[in-house]
Amino acid sequence: MKNNIRVERAIKNITQADLADQVGVSRQTINTIESNKYVPSTVLALKIARIFEKPVEEVFILEDED
């Protein structure tokens, strides 16, 4: 699974730390998700998508090998 969090953050102009605070996780966790090394839980994915005001499929994209 890949994600557009970095792009979406740029659009909203917020930092990793801002996003982390808003969804209640640590900054390292956001960074680890952004670099595609951790697949977040459904709850966390929904929270992140809500911050960006987009459906979750626009932020998190399933890949062929998944």
Binding site: G24, V25, S26, R27, Q28, T29, N31, T32, I33, S35, K37, Y38, P40, S41, V43, L44
Partner: protein, 304 residues
């Protein structure tokens, strides 16, 4: 995943203050037979074989300090606890138990080979030079926690910006699960029967075979623990991780209690049982919950 059963963040520091003196004291107890003068109680009137009348509590103190300290270091919250730190902790624990018992397996093989060469083919793992230097049943009381702490701190702090997570390791279902289960059950039955016979009839049993079974049981249970279910999936993986955490907690609670109430030969026997208990508690808890869910699913399907 939510974090469960963790100590407050401040306990991490407290843990170091307990564990470090504990290790120093433990080293002197184990290799220099140090005893804190006067830190003892007269438990019996007379000395008996292997059971002196006066019990000095220095070794018990050292073990309590080491275990409590390590538990605090290992299982206290992060400042900012979230689902990834929980996951990291779970996966690192699953990894650490595997590594602990692989090291144990290597030790066992080396000890056996050593016996073959130095004792004219009399293979008795428990009575030789090698086991005096590295008595693994003593080390195994705390190595699972030490390996976990090292692993967790590495994953947590090796990169400034990012956490690392271990991938879960499994052996294939076939043939490892079947081998693991059958060998474990045969050995467990054998060990149980030996103990029962010993207690009930007081007869001498073949202690060598009992000893060997207790030494090899951890490896059989390891196969059982680390081989896949037929229908392994994300849910089962989570169940595994939770069960491992509970197994480790249960193991250490029992160990701390035993340390306070068992002495001499009783504690020696307990240490040998303890070699297997983490993986034993794991397979019991994991399979119990899995059965329960499978049953519930079957009934649910019939109902709908």
């Amino acid at each position: 995943m939510k974090s469960r059963f963790l100590f407050p963040y401040q306990f991490k520091l407290l843990g170091w203050f307990l564990a470090v003196p504990g290790f120093v004291l433990g080293y002197f107890v184990l290799y220099h037979e140090y005893k804190i003068p006067g830190f003892e109680l007269r438990l019996r009137d007379k000395d008996a074989l292997f059971v002196p009348s006066i019990e000095n509590f220095t070794n018990e103190l050292a073990l309590i300090l080491v275990l409590l300290g390590l538990l605090f270091i290992a299982f206290s919250r992060e400042k900012k606890e979230d689902e990834l730190t929980v996951r990291m902790r779970y996966n690192a624990l699953y990894w650490a138990i595997l590594i602990n018992y692989l090291i144990y397996g290597v030790w066992l093989v080396v000890a056996l080979v050593h016996d073959l060469f130095f004792f004219n083919n009399q293979v008795r793992v428990l009575s030789n030079f090698f086991t005096d230097i590295l008595p693994i049943w003593i080390y195994n009381l705390f190595t699972p926690l030490v390996i976990f702490v090292i692993r967790y701190y590495y994953l947590r702090y090796s990169k400034n910006n990012e956490y690392k997570i271990d991938k879960l390791f499994y052996l294939p279902y076939k043939p490892f699960k079947v081998i693991g289960i059958s060998v474990s059950i045969v050995m467990l039955t054998g060990i149980l029967l030996s103990f029962i016979i010993k207690w009930v009839s007081g007869n001498r049993i073949n202690e060598d075979i009992l000893e060997d079974m207790m030494l090899f049981l951890p490896l059989a249970l390891l196969l059982w623990t680390y081989s896949k279910e037929k229908n392994e999936d994300e849910f089962i993986a989570t169940l595994r991780l939770e069960s491992m955490q509970l197994a480790v907690y249960t193991n250490y609670i029992i160990l701390l209690v035993a340390n306070c109430f068992l002495f001499f030969t009783d504690f020696m026997v307990f240490m040998f049982i303890n070699l297997s208990t983490i993986t034993l508690f794991f397979v019991i808890r994991f399979n119990y919950i899995l059965r329960k869910y499978n049953k519930a699913t079957e009934q649910g399907e019939l109902a709908s």
